[in-house]
Structures are given as C-alpha cells and as structure tokens.
C-alpha cells in the first residue's frame, strides 16, 4: 500500500478546469478533516481549534511526506488556496474586531491594564534569552541578519493569548461577573490590542531599513490609528444605522475590511491587524454587531478558516523536530507557559483567591490560532525558518490542550459539560 503511494507523482500542468477541480477537492478535504478532528476534540472536552490545527498538520508533509502532500494539493493549486486562506484570516480578524466588546473593559482599565501589559511583556522579555540561544541558522531565517527582529518575533509568538476563547470559557462557567471573571475578560480585551500593537511593532522593526525609516513608519501607523478612531469611526456610525445590517451595509463592511487590510499591509504591519482594527471601528450597537457577525461567521469559520489551517499545515513538518531540536521546543514551551502564569500572579493582590489566580494563568496561556498568525508573519518575512514555525505549532497545540485539564485542577467546579461546548466554534 505505502509502496504504491510512493510511486504517485504530483500532477503537472494543473491549469484551467483541472485547477478548479483540484481547488474544490482540496477545500472539500480540508473542511471534512477539520470538522471531524474538531468534533473529536470537542467530544473529549478540548477546544475545537486543536483539532483544526491538527487537521492542517495532517495534510502537510508531516504525515504524508512532501511528495504525497503535493499529489493532494499540487503546487499550482496552492496559490489559489492561499488566496482563500488570506481572505479567511481577514474575515476572521474582522469578526474578532466586530465581537470586541469595549464595555467589558470600561471601569477596570487600571488593574486589568496592568495584568494585560504584564501578560504581553513578561513572555516577550522571556523571548529574548530564548532567542539568544536559538539564534542559529537552524531557527533564524535568512532575513534575520540582526538579532532584534528575531527576538521580537519569538517573543510575539510566546505572548499571544486567544481572547475570544477566554471570554467564552468564563461565560460557560458562569464566572463572567465574578471579580476574577471580569478582571480576566477585561485584561484579555486590553491584551489583544497590546498584542496586535506588539506584533505590528515586530513587523515594523523587521521591515524598516534604519532608525529614521522606523520612526517614520511608527509615526504613520499612529496617524493611521488616530484618523481611524477620530474621523472614520464617527463617519461609520452615521453611515450604518439601525439594529440590522443591510446589503449595502455589508458591502461597506467588506470594502472597508479589504481597504484597511491593504493600508495596514502598506504600512508594514500585517494586513490582518487592519482587519481587526476595521472590525473595532464599526458602530458600538451590540444588535448591529451581532447581525453583522451572524451574516459572515458560519461560512467564514466553516468554509474558509480550515483552508488557513491547511496552509499553515503545509509549512509545518513535525519530522523536523529531532533529539537535537527537542531542547529548543522545551525552552519555547517553558517560556510560553511560565510567562503567562507569572503575569497572572499580581491578580492575587487585587482580591482574588490563589485558585482563581491559577485559573487566570491557565486562561492567559490559551493561544488559539492567533499564534499561528504571528508565526506565519515571521515566516513571510523570512525571520524564522520552517523548523521554528513547526515549534510554534507545537507550542500552540500543547498550550491549547493544557487549558481544560489545568482549569479542572485549579477550580473545584467540574469542567464545562461537553454539550455546552458545542457552541465553542473554531473561532473562539
């Protein structure tokens, strides 16, 4: 069987009709696999996203080998798939922005802000000594001629927290309104903004050619954010009214989303950050936001997002992790986990119990899929190698898998019943 599989050669000259057939086939395969593994993970009480990341890895060279992976998804079909992955990510980030709830942050800026800053800063700082150890040609990509961008990117990968997952878990446990719950949600809310600023910062450092160029870029980014908030946001509030969104309104959303992605890309921060910002700028009316999200979410999450996981899986090869590279994996994991738990410590001073501090640490440590975004940006800039990207995928998988068991340890309450978790979509 496997002998026969090895004799298959990737198809050549995949163009025109055959290309469309391949794209359809690949999307089919990806969606099925992501769904099945996602459901499986859900059954054993894990977040769906773990299964979906795994589905992507399975389609890549890890299991099938480069040759067989190319038989399934020929080189010519990959750019088309990549187009969908890009769109998927833009839509996903847009939704994250749309579902961002500013009111959760209001009134807790102080304590939550401190936690948020620490939760980004500590792993980011820890990232530097780790990066120092890993700064060899095995891990650092061709473009990482300077140490700084490499260190920043590793730090960014360590400091990611999946904010929607956290809010969701807290809500399901009925702890959203407890002292710990509101503190946690508010801090991840602030955290996501800091995190994206930090990823943008790392990307800007990587793209800038010198100090003056860097300052110019930072100035432009600040100007862009300021104009968006002061000019564009009120305009949007006038343009889009009511509790439901019309077809024209959706067109404005989509056009603005792509426009912001282009601007963000040109400024040197990633296009996805633009999508997130655009989502946040929409009118605050919760009904309107729910209506926008309802119109896009299912198709984006079920149909498009798995393609992104596949694209990230194509870049991942778990076979690259050998005995020699295992220490690096351990180091990254250690940095990722300890950084987040250290950051949760000060919450003890804000009047929560030790157990709740542990819960907060476990929640901060959930990385969702955003860590893959940070990794892919690094890969795109050639700051990191495929090996480092693979390590980041491992970190994402392990930290996501840890969350539920850790919560069960720290909290006397039983874990979320499986049935309720059904609602945990891949986004969260």
């Amino acid at each position: 069987m496997s002998g026969w599989l090895q004799t298959l050669t990737p198809p050549q000259n995949v163009t025109g009709q055959l290309l469309i057939a391949y794209v359809l086939f690949d999307v089919f395969l990806i969606v099925v696999l992501a769904r099945i593994l996602g459901n499986l993970m859900n059954k054993i009480g894990q977040p769906r996203v773990v299964g979906e990341i795994l589905a992507g890895v399975l389609l890549g060279p890890t299991l099938l080998g480069q040759n067989l992976s190319l038989v399934i998804a020929p080189a010519e079909a990959r750019p088309a798939l990549s187009t969908f992955a890009t769109l998927a990510l833009a839509l996903f980030m847009f939704l994250a922005g749309v579902e961002y709830d500013l009111s959760k942050v209001r009134g807790r800026e102080g304590q939550a802000g401190l936690l948020a800053v620490l939760a980004i800063a500590i792993p980011a700082v820890i990232g530097f000594p780790i990066a120092q150890v890993m700064y060899t040609s095995d891990y650092a990509g061709e473009a990482a001629t300077r140490f700084l961008p490499f260190g920043l990117f590793l730090g960014a990968a360590l400091s990611v927290t999946a904010f929607p997952v956290m809010a969701h878990i807290l809500m399901e446990r009925g702890e959203l309104n407890s002292k710990m719950g509101s503190l946690g949600v508010a801090s991840t809310g602030i955290m996501s903004v800091i995190m994206f600023s930090y990823i943008s910062f790392a990307a800007t450092v990587a793209a800038a050619k010198g100090m003056s160029d860097f300052l110019l870029r930072v100035g432009m980014i600040l100007l862009f954010a300021l104009v968006s908030w002061i000019v564009v946001r009120p305009l949007l509030a006038r343009l889009i009214r009511g509790d439901t969104i019309s077809g024209d309104g959706m067109a404005v959303c989509f056009a603005g989303l792509t426009l912001y992605a282009v601007i963000a890309h040109q400024l040197g921060i990633n296009a996805m950050v633009g999508g997130f910002l655009w989502g946040m700028l929409l009118p605050a009316n919760p009904g309107l936001r729910a209506s926008i999200s309802a119109k896009v979410k299912d198709v984006a999450m079920i149909f498009f997002l798995p393609i992104f996981f596949a694209m990230s899986g194509f870049q991942t090869d778990l076979k690259l992790i050998t005995w020699q590279t295992l220490p690096a994996v351990g180091l990254m994991l250690l940095g990722a986990i300890s950084g987040k738990f250290l950051a949760a410590l000060p919450s003890k001073g804000f009047g929560v119990t030790w157990q709740e501090t542990g819960v907060l640490g476990a929640l901060f440590n959930t990385r969702g899929l955003l860590v893959l975004v940070a990794g892919l940006i690094g890969l795109q800039f050639q700051i990191i190698t495929n090996l480092t990207f693979t390590i980041i995928v491992v970190v994402a998988l392990v930290t996501n898998l840890m969350t539920v068991p850790l919560l069960n340890i720290f909290s006397r309450k039983k874990s979320v019943p499986v049935a309720q978790q059904k609602q945990l979509s891949s986004a969260d």
Partner: protein
Amino acid sequence: MMPDLPTLFLQIVVILALARALGWLFRKIYQPQVVGEMVAGVLLGPSLLGWVAPGVYKTLFPPESLGYLNSLSQVGLILFMFLVGLELDLKVLRGLGHATVVTSHVSIIFPFFLGSGLAIYLYPRLSDDSVSFTNFALFMGAAMSITAFPVLARILTERNLLKTRLGSVAITCAAVDDVTGWCILAGIVLLARASESSLPLWAALSGVAGFIALMWFGVRQLVGKMGDFFERYGTVTQGMLVIILLLVLSAGWVTERLGIHAVFGAFISGVIMPKNHGLVNSLTEKINDVAVVLLLPLFFAFVGLQTSLGLLSGAKMWFFAALILATAVVGKFGGSMLSARFTGLSWREAGSLGVLMNTRGLMELVLLTIGLEIGVISQALFSMLVLMAITTTFMTSPILEWIYYSRLYPKKTTLAETANESEEATVDQASSFPVIE
C-alpha cells in the same frame, strides 16, 4: 507562494465600491441592482478603464494577478449557483396548465432556432475552424434562449406580481427555461471538451446521467431529512451547514471532472435541497452575504475584464452586435409573447411576459464565461453577447412599466409607488419567497 496581497485586496475594494455605487444608482432608476453591478464590471475592464487610463488599469489589474481574482470569483459563482438552485422549487412544474407548457416550450425553442439560424450567418464572419459549426450554432442558440431566473424572481417579488396570473406563468416558464438552458449548455460543454477530455463521450454522458440520478433519487432523500432537523432546532446549525457546503463542493468537483462545469453540480445540489421555507430562508441568509455581496461582484469584474467593447471597431462589428441584440429580443420577447397570446393571455399580459422572459441577467454572463473558457466563442463575440445581456436586462423594467402598469392600472400605481410599497411588501413576502439580493 502567497498571492500579491495588496493588489488582490485593492482590486476587491475597487470592485466592491463601484459595484455597490452603480447598483445603488440603478436602484434609484428602478432597475435591479444586478444590472448596475454588471455595468460596473464592464466599466472596470478594457472597455472603459483600460481605454481611458491604461496606466491605472495595468497597475490595478496586472495579468498575473487575475488568476487569484478568478479563483475567488469561481467559488463565489459556485455558491451563488447553489443559491439559485435552492430558490428553484420544481413543484411549480407539477400540474401545469396547458398555456404554461406551450409558452415555456416556445419561449425556448423559438429563440434557440433563431440563434442557431443567426449562427449560419455569423459563423464564417466571427468564428474560425478551431470551433465546429455544430458547437457554435448550439451555443448561439443557448445564449439566446436563457432567462435569468433569479433576476426575474426578484423583479416579480419587488413588484408584488408573484401571486398574479402573469407572475405565476412567468416564474414557471423561467424555471423550465433555466433547467432546459443548463441542460443544453452542459451538452455543449461535453461536446466541445470531448476531444481534449480523457473521458470518452459515452462515459461522460452516462456519468452525468448517473450523477443526476444519484443526486435526485439518493442524495435528495438524505438531505430531505434536513427539513426535519431544521424544524427541531429552528435554525441551520453549523453541522448542517458543513454538510450542505460539502455537498456543494463534492457535486461541483464531480461535474467538473465529468467534463461539464462545476456550476452545474452546485446548481443541482441547490435544486435537491428540501424546499422548507424556513430552511431555505435561513440558509440563504447565511450564505448570501459572503457569496453575493462579497464574491459575486468579483465575478462581474472578471467578466468585465474579458469584455472589450474596443474590439467592436467599425460599423460592421456594431452591425453584428445590433443583429445579435435584435435576434435575442425577437426570439425571446416575440416568441414568449405570441405563444402566451395564443394560449389565452391578454395582449398586455402576453407582452409583459415576453419582456420578463427577455431578462437575461447574470445567468447569461455565466453561460458566456463558460463559452469563452471552452473556446466556442471569440472575445469579440463574447463582448457583443455581454452587451446584449446587459441591454436586454436593462430593458425589462421600463418596458414592463410601459406595458403593464401604466395601462393596466392607469391611475393609481406608478412604478415608483409600487417600488415603495413593495419595500414593505418584501418583508412579508420574504417568508413565502426567498430573494437573493
């Protein structure tokens, strides 16, 4: 490996903005939104932008970027065709009156023969030996006889005509035309591709027949269960949506591999879905915005990029274009009107029916793109036919007002008022008839 992101996203921004702006403008003059979107596509192509500002055109639409735009628009088209199929309820074909049967048949056969006849004249002038005359003539026939079911359904809904005699005859005829037209086209694609395909023609034909039988007798029963699920949950769950999307993808893949086009598979998957109103509406709502608001304008732009009115240089070419337009109108409008009149509708109703059936909308564009793709028609002929499609769709609203409203309801209802009323009316009608925007 990654596509050139700024170019692709900038294209999407420009296309969406222009399509919506023109769509809005056309709505103001009581035209269906889709006409504006179609025109927007043509304006962005070499016909206007490439002609007025070639520099901008080249920067915005570099040839190497079009592949990405195309793959996005193809998926949009596949999702859209699923929605079209979803909207089509074959139950209307049951227990047809004599009038409807005759009218629907004539409304296909008459323009089909006129189109094929025109092909005899056009073949030596606009085609070459790489295309066999049979394929060319069949394609011209099909191009003349298509009716845009979704546009027609939308016009009827907006004007509150669905429940009238005219409305029910029109919607039925359009449904029959749609199905027949696609069958003819599938046949042409099979014939045209037979030479290059790895499958022999008989295998492809039996494959298509087997596929349709499987979908109708097997899969339809299975997805029929979804109606019950919907009743139980009251919403389309993620699990249901996954299954439906997977069905669309696999049906598209099968038809693509059989040598006919992926859109057929998507269309058939839509047709076999249970026509439970709640389910259809909720499904349409979930897919509509991504497919129709975001991705479909990209398809129009892609059509527009291949349309080059500049190719119609000289009086002779414009004469051909006018001839095609005249044949299309005479065939579809004349054929439907006369047959409707002889089967008992009043002149006014018959005329209105003719106008409605003459709406070709974007279904014609789908057909033309496939024709261009398989090489049956040249780019010049493609451009003429696009022009014809837009013109015939554009004609519908004003002529319908002139024939139907101003005479039948001389005092009360002007089109403007009906349009206003129907805005409220659409809301309650939405429950009885889903509308793809």
